[in-house]
Symmetry: D2
Subunit: 325 residues, 4 copies
């Protein structure tokens, strides 16, 4: 880190900071210019910026090592490609993931899965909890998925469901349940893990979360952008395209986006999904309605809307030299 001392800092104040840096295990270099002194301490020991800034005579402390190493593109310049069965995530393909919402009928879901598979879709999300599938249903989902060549993504909503999710599904998604216990439980299964940037998280916070997963030994981590609150009174929330480009620049991990969750209304999903596709995402997650006459999930696309959007996406990503998975 760099400690910038005030112009008015005394020699004694500087010495006290130097001593503290030595205590922390740093080997600080002191540079005194005409105006002020700076102390450079390069290395990776933990420190608290605020603690240091509270020393008398300190103007500002600047952190220069990133709080995420394994996740950063500095440490690994090339994109991480995650292979699940014969599907490569984070490569040249953009993975379409579909979650069928508001259906109680496994048969209905099965029919939709079949049509999705015909359209070339490779990933489907099974939500655990709330209307959670029973063990019997999970077996059925698994059988259908296998017959269609679909990968199953699970969103467990409690610690108890993780083992079951790992058993029947191919990829795990961490939603709001991103605590240490959950991550440790999930890490046992060696399944790819999707960590979501919730609206309340900064870009750095989701990268630090990804780092904590990587440091548990799970190398297959995907980041999923879920939208942010916007400042404009006319836009409550939106997918953040600039965040997608920033995360791709800062990290080698695959990045997904969830335009349905982000936009909250089906009539606003399509242009943002296209924008995310050209903005660099490696996957797109969509909620679709089991039938057109449903209320309560305004973010979910009708099947017709989904097919139209899929067609547009196919053209768009082909124009940038990628393809849909």
């Amino acid at each position: 880190m760099i400690v910038v001392m005030k112009q008015s800092a005394t020699e004694e104040q500087i010495s006290r900071v130097v001593k503290h840096l030595l205590d922390l295990g740093f080997d600080p270099y002191r540079s005194t210019g005409k105006v002020q002194t700076i102390l450079a301490a390069i290395g990776e020991r933990p420190f608290d910026k605020n603690d240091l800034e509270l020393f008398d005579g300190v103007q500002e402390v600047v952190r220069i090592s990133l709080p995420y190493k394994l996740a950063s593109r500095n440490s690994k310049p090339e994109n991480t490609v995650i292979k699940v069965k014969d599907i490569e995530l984070g490569g040249s393909g953009i993975a379409i993931t579909v979650r069928v919402v508001a259906s109680n009928s496994f048969h209905q879901v099965e029919q939709i899965y079949t049509r999705l598979a015909q359209e070339g879709v490779k990933l489907a999300t099974v939500t655990l909890s709330e209307k959670q599938p029973s063990e019997k249903q999970l077996k059925e989902y698994r059988a259908v998925a296998d017959s269609l060549g679909l990968l199953l993504v699970a969103r467990p909503k409690s610690l108890q469901e993780v083992a079951k999710a790992c058993h029947y599904c191919d990829i795990l998604e961490v939603g709001t349940l991103s605590n240490r216990l959950f991550l440790e439980e999930a890490s046992k299964a060696d399944k790819p893990l999707i960590v979501s940037r919730l609206p309340s998280m900064s870009i750095e916070e989701v990268l630090v979360l990804a780092e904590s997963v990587l440091s548990l030994g799970i190398e297959k981590v995907i980041i999923c952008e879920q939208g942010v609150r916007m400042l404009d009174p006319l836009i409550a929330q939106s997918l953040d395209i600039s965040a997608i480009t920033a995360i791709k620049r800062l990290s080698h991990l695959p990045v997904f986006a969830d335009p349905c969750a982000a936009m909250g209304r089906r009539d606003r999903v399509a242009p943002m999904a296209l924008a995310a596709a050209v903005g660099g995402v490696d996957g797109l997650v969509f909620d679709i309605l089991a039938s057109n006459e449903q209320y309560g999930t305004p973010q979910a696309l009708t099947f017709t809307q989904f097919l139209e959007l899929l067609q547009q996406l196919r053209l768009i990503v082909s124009a940038i030299g990628r393809r849909l998975l």
Copy 2:
């Protein structure tokens, strides 16, 4: 507007609000439910929401008529297409506009204009003021533009320059100079006017600004999105793709975007320009460097970067059934 009275509102409080609405020229309808009373006053008389909310017994006042009429898609569902010479803005084409920055040499600019015209670019921006072109230079610009079939866009920086800009250029741009005097001066020339959403303006504010131009009788108004400050500490500012889609939804006016101004750094321009293109813009404005070895305009693309981006844009917009102008 709708006045929602508190549950605890007395008859006397309700009467006082009704009387005030009548004084304002409204013809309010009163609806009293089991829980509370609402007063609906449909119409377009001016009122101050805060004034009304300060009446005793009022819970909330909800404005239901938009503060922009002429600019709204409610009043005109189809897109406005602005024809300048033989070029149509706001139609199926996406207009590329280029501003050559940091050059003192007219000859250098002329060479670049020629190359731009070869690439099919149709609009070029001439900045007035600061290093402002003299009358003689403007004549030269005009001659070159005419010979190449370019439209000239002017950004006058003072009231004094408006007449000159109108004389030599085809389109005027209102930047920070959006006051009444400027707009009135500009309205005399019957030239298309670009109004910018500056980072400090909300979506509604730029629509109200467009409305004020339309109400002066200038029908050819283009809105230009210039980027917003972002909440994330890692992204100081960004082009706001969701604002572009929102303005297109709310208004029939053509919308341009300026990804260079919005992003501030040339290495961040390309993905956001592509995202804006699929997000629905009718024009894109780019700063380009007169030569590669320049400092002080980090937002400007090198000519090579610009050509590469142009190629990508051409493929992308063709995939969505549009084309570059």
Copy 3:
């Protein structure tokens, strides 16, 4: 709610919305003006604003009943006063709550508690988990608290700790652990509950959280303001004085503020604590250091700083006709 139809809405579109409102159990009133139609549906049935806005012909849906009833000042105009033993929270007194941080020594904490009690402080927070006090220590805390007339506040960090917290402490604090299971567990004990507005929560969200606690039958709810992220690059986070005044206006519940957590640095706590006091809070929570030579908790005040601030607070709140508890 009010459904504002577009000017262009057809009779058929209006009928379809009316039918849907009837299906939802509303008894909508239709008002058609010269410009447009509005539908007013007063009542408290649940509905999804986005669902309704997706109907063809709808311009906007405005919710007019608040999503929190029990917590709202509409339903209970006078302040709620919560009596715990002989101490009244939410009345004319402002309760000072202290948490001693970074100490492993019960003896050290005991000494500080004794000095706090001499200063008239009535509430002390015991953190459970991480360096969690054992059952034996909790007994000791309880004994000391009883001998000094202190109330103990507990911040359990897992569901497992709730029962223990209820047994030994007087008030429970819900931090990040605000899920349904936790609230149900906590509701069994009939202890006052502090719900925090975390930086990611809007004002309405914390009121809805308070509502969910009230609806479980716990009437003794306190809201604690913990600070928000700020837009200005120079201020990462801050206590939000305007939120305090807004919550006091909208709700009858007592409001506490935690300026240490909100500001993150001890040198910035004092003026914001004073501002919160005159802004209407009913309690202030402070972290204090067990000894002056500690790092890692830059938000915690030294004991000397705390005493000085206490003295200032005493003068300030006396000037507004309140007193410190």
Copy 4:
């Protein structure tokens, strides 16, 4: 500034940055640690952070000298006190400034000024432009002010009015008219200048604006906080108490606050005015109504509200060892 090079930066990339720093006139020091290299260039030459960050191999550029020198507390640790006639602004007193709104009657204003003077108020704001006072009226204002011992503050709204404002008034206020020409014109008169932080300005931006005034030789500069847009949907705008404390910490200049402009509604002014007072302001600006039955200025206090608030403020500031002017 500090240039932090990437871990992967090559010697050639480092050399190119060093050369550029030398070209800019810096004398950079290079420090190469185990992980990465940093270049420290202490001094005050102008540079563009983005330009530097665009060099290959650069991870981040950190500015360490503030973009405002004269305005900073680093350069002048003690508070600046501005003496106007016998009144000291920025000292131990907090100056109450009043603007009477929405009155066409000079006689009415005169009566109010007389009552204000009886209450000890020392500053009154005269708005120029819109309903601008004529030269004759300004003379009358001046005469009344002199007879009552009031200082007059002028808010000219065009360049043309500056000279007149300087002639008849004691203090000038820069509102939205903060351009160079205006500041140069104002600087001729050697009157104290109030620069406002408009809602669209960051803290650093208002300090840079104050710097530009100081660098014109006007030493008597006051900063006025006007409120910011808030993120919470329930609070459109608010006075920013943390900004007040931040500006006082960063700068030696007196800071005023305008809670009426900031809050926009008279019923929300009082608690924020009290909070600003204990937060460290040196002056408070209030709009007051000429008569109670006025609409269109919901931010203005009634005279009765103002007197009550004045009474509360007097008690509060006395509790923190200050007094009202």
